[in-house]
């Protein structure tokens, strides 16, 4: 092949591949634009005041297409299909209790993206920002609104590699004091102090302002741990428990359990654990759920599952009875406030 022919071939390749690349970006940009226009048949969404102290309200991330896509919205908890009231606050993860919210958000900068945890008041005004070391995964506010916890995925920056690890932080909202990593806590496993390089902790759920539950993973296994803020200790309670969520009365947990024999693509099922008897009960949801559930009331849990437009919220009784029910379409990260 002559030099001239090679240069011509290269130019042709550049033009062809450049066109494909350009077209794919145009297509994706067009689709992003389309998502900004309301979809016929969807619930109506209008701007308004979203308050974290409104009585009987449910606040969640609205994934419905339109100008308010991925903003926080408020609906009556008794009628989640009603028109949504949106506030211009965008979060990758959200939770709230007692008039205090945590919004884990992404900020686009010149050198890529950065992530922050914002503590917000009942009017969604930011009280304090904490920089995060990775992509947000879970967040919870304690029932009193005094404490907040979040988990991010850090790492995955090596060449085509992915050694992801979690980092879980707890902040005292009243003082601003931050425990940057729960891995600084002492670990008691099976009654003995435990050290390992591969420990990951995630998915905090608060009992009160002194105690919490969370997931600990080491050597390829997961454990339910009970955490104590005063002694800065986590103690293993039980194996194969991920993303626990404590009931309002503090007697039961609903968690995702890796069930043997299921497809590695969909390995989790929801289970309830009675903390007094340590008895497990499978819930009536037959699909794999990768979420930390939220208690809607003393009997029901709510969780996200993939849907046609991002994700839908589903609910199921926490005692193994009944059947799953779709609560709201195109919605994520609910918090029952007020």
């Amino acid at each position: 092949m002559s030099r001239r022919a090679r240069v011509v071939a290269l130019l042709a390749g550049v033009v062809l591949l450049g066109s494909v690349a350009f077209a794919s970006v145009l297509h994706a940009a067009g689709r992003a634009g389309e998502r900004d226009r309301p979809r016929p048949g969807g619930p109506s969404v209008a701007a308004g005041a979203v308050r974290l102290d409104a009585r009987g309200a449910m606040v969640f991330r609205n994934m419905e297409w339109g100008p308010h896509r991925d903003e926080l919205v408020s609906v009556p908890a008794a009628d989640p299909g009603a028109a949504r009231t949106a506030a211009p606050v965008r979060c990758l993860r959200f939770h709230a209790a007692a008039g205090v919210g945590v919004c884990l958000r992404k900020v686009d900068g010149a050198l890529g993206e950065s992530y922050f945890a914002s503590i917000v008041d009942s009017g969604l005004r930011t009280l304090r920002d904490y920089p995060l070391a990775g992509v947000p995964s879970r967040t919870r506010v304690s029932p009193s609104g005094h404490l907040a916890a979040w988990t991010v995925f850090a790492g995955g920056d090596s060449y085509a590699g992915g050694d992801f690890s979690t980092r879980t932080s707890i902040v005292d909202v009243r003082t601003g004091a931050l425990t940057a990593s729960l891995e600084s806590y002492a670990i008691v496993k099976d009654g003995r102090p435990y050290h390992a390089a591969d420990v990951n902790l995630w998915g905090v759920t608060f009992a009160d302002d002194a105690r919490f539950y969370a997931t600990l993973a080491t050597k390829g296994r997961t454990y339910l741990v009970r955490g104590d803020l005063a002694t800065r200790t986590v103690t293993t309670v039980r194996a194969n428990v991920e993303c626990p969520s404590l009931s309002p009365d503090g007697t039961r947990l609903v968690f995702k359990k890796r069930v043997a024999g299921l497809s590695p693509d969909e390995p989790w099922r929801l289970y309830a654990l009675d903390l007094a008897s340590m008895r497990e009960t499978p819930l009536a949801e037959g699909r794999s759920v990768d979420d930390q559930v939220v208690w809607a009331d003393a009997r029901t849990v709510v969780y996200g599952l993939a849907g046609d437009f991002g994700a839908d919220l589903w609910s199921v009784p926490a005692d193994g009875s009944g059947a799953p029910r779709r609560v709201a379409g195109a919605a994520l990260n609910p918090a029952y406030v007020g």
Partner: protein, 432 residues
């Protein structure tokens, strides 16, 4: 490309009128061969492609697909082992019949094909499999590519050639994330567009390889390569046995053992960055930018240190690079106060890469005969990579048990010992 073009001027400015005692008189070849520039361009474009994906992958998995990528790295060890074996295999395959270009093409092509597969894979096991395949492609192409660089370059300027290649490679790695975030800026949540653009870049890299890298290197070092075409010349055919027999050559063995020993005391990048945060108190939001600091210094120093290696000897620069790493450990251990300390650590870390990565390949090329070049480079490179992997596992285990200071002290002591031994073992005249 401009880097490569600037190269000779920079060297001229650094002002050595005679091209150095290491260079044979009358052979002051200053320009970098076209094949090296072509391979550098292929690496640059390919790194843009792969780093685009790496930059958005965490966000894509968590925010785009709603997955929990934890335990994703459990297979990291397996990947590393497989990647090392594939590299040896690729090196051997390339030497048989002198198929360097074909094997490199297979490697680059495999990685390119992985990008559209990412559009189809929506579960963690599937995405893990695609990334493993991508890594296998990288393993396959590394040895034949480095062999091609060395075979197309006169021995006395190999340090420069590898320096130009590594600088272009690192430049691509720096541009990749920027390209990815430009795409995401134009199209919110357009991960599919990122993967498509990444594929187009990878395909362009393959095209440049096909069009501008000759099947038969035509450098001055290819005389013995002609013998490969037939046993008529009496050259022994390339077999697995002859590849293994490379370790019987004292020079190859010394270099392989030194590289592996020094690799055993080279802590992983992740540990260096964690230490920067733990011991020097780098703020959380700067953490993702630390690898960038290392890469920028690597980019800036790869060519100058490659040229220096040609003048004063590759092994000397290779050892000096490890002294830079030793100094970085020392700074992390002493943790003096001051705003410049983290920059100094990153500068030393980047200088370590610039003085060792391409320079080792250049030194190895001098010790291995042309007909076994790819096998030999793979042998030495894989030994070093596996040793580093062992080190990162040991450091991970020791860290929680002993604490970071003890790990740093142990790494310093180990590195100093290995460097001293390597300086002794690698003394004497360097083969060209």
């Amino acid at each position: 490309m401009y880097l490569a073009e600037r190269g000779p001027d920079q060297a001229a400015e650094s002002g050595d009128p005679s091209p150095g005692s290491a260079v044979r008189p009358g052979r002051a070849v200053r320009a970098v061969p076209a094949t090296v520039l072509a391979l550098g361009t292929v690496s640059l474009i390919t790194d843009v492609s792969s780093e685009m994906v790496a930059a958005v992958l965490p966000l894509y998995l968590v925010a785009g697909l709603g997955l929990s990528p934890l335990g994703f790295g459990l297979l990291d060890g397996v990947y590393n082992g497989v990647s090392g074996l594939v590299r040896l295999f690729g090196g051997h395959l390339a030497d048989r019949g002198g198929r360097h270009k074909a094997v490199a093409l297979a490697g680059y092509g495999l990685s390119a094909l992985c990008k559209p597969l990412l559009l189809l894979a929506h579960t963690l096991p599937a995405i893990g499999a695609v990334l493993a395949l991508d890594r296998a492609g990288k393993g396959l192409r590394t040895a034949p590519r480095d062999a091609l660089i060395s075979l197309s370059t006169p021995p006395e300027t190999r340090g420069r050639a590898f320096g130009v290649h590594r600088a272009m490679d690192t430049g691509g790695a720096l541009l990749g994330p920027l390209a990815a975030f430009l795409v995401l800026g134009a199209a919110a949540e357009g991960y599919d567009a990122v993967f498509t653009v990444s594929f187009c870049a990878a395909a362009l890299g393959v095209l440049v390889l096909v069009l501008f890298v000759p099947s038969r290197p035509t450098g001055p070092d290819t005389r013995p390569a002609a013998a490969r075409d037939g046993a008529a010349d009496g050259a022994p055919p390339v077999t697995l046995r002859s590849a293994v027999a490379l370790l019987g050559r004292p020079e190859v063995r010394r270099l392989a053992v030194c590289a592996a020993l020094l690799g055993l005391t080279t802590v992983s990048d992740a540990f260096v960055y964690l230490m920067l945060r733990h011991r020097l108190g780098i703020a959380e939001q700067w953490f993702p930018l630390l690898p960038l600091g290392t890469a920028v210094v690597f980019l800036l120093l790869a060519l100058p240190l490659g040229v220096l290696a040609d003048r004063v000897g590759r092994r000397r620069v290779f050892l000096a690079g490890h002294l830079a790493l030793l100094a970085a450990y020392g700074l992390l251990l002493a943790a003096p106060a001051g705003p410049v300390v983290p920059f100094a650590v990153l500068a030393l870390h980047g200088a370590f890469y610039a003085a060792t990565d391409g320079v080792l390949a250049a030194a190895a090329a001098g010790a291995v005969p042309a007909e076994l070049r790819a096998s030999g480079l793979a042998l030495i490179g894989t030994g070093q990579a596996l040793a580093r992997f062992c080190c990162s596992i040991a450091v991970g285990a020791a860290w929680t048990a002993l604490g970071d200071r003890a790990v740093l002290r142990a790494a310093m002591a180990g590195l100093a010992l290995c460097a001293a031994w390597a300086a002794y073992a690698l003394r004497g005249r360097e083969a060209r």
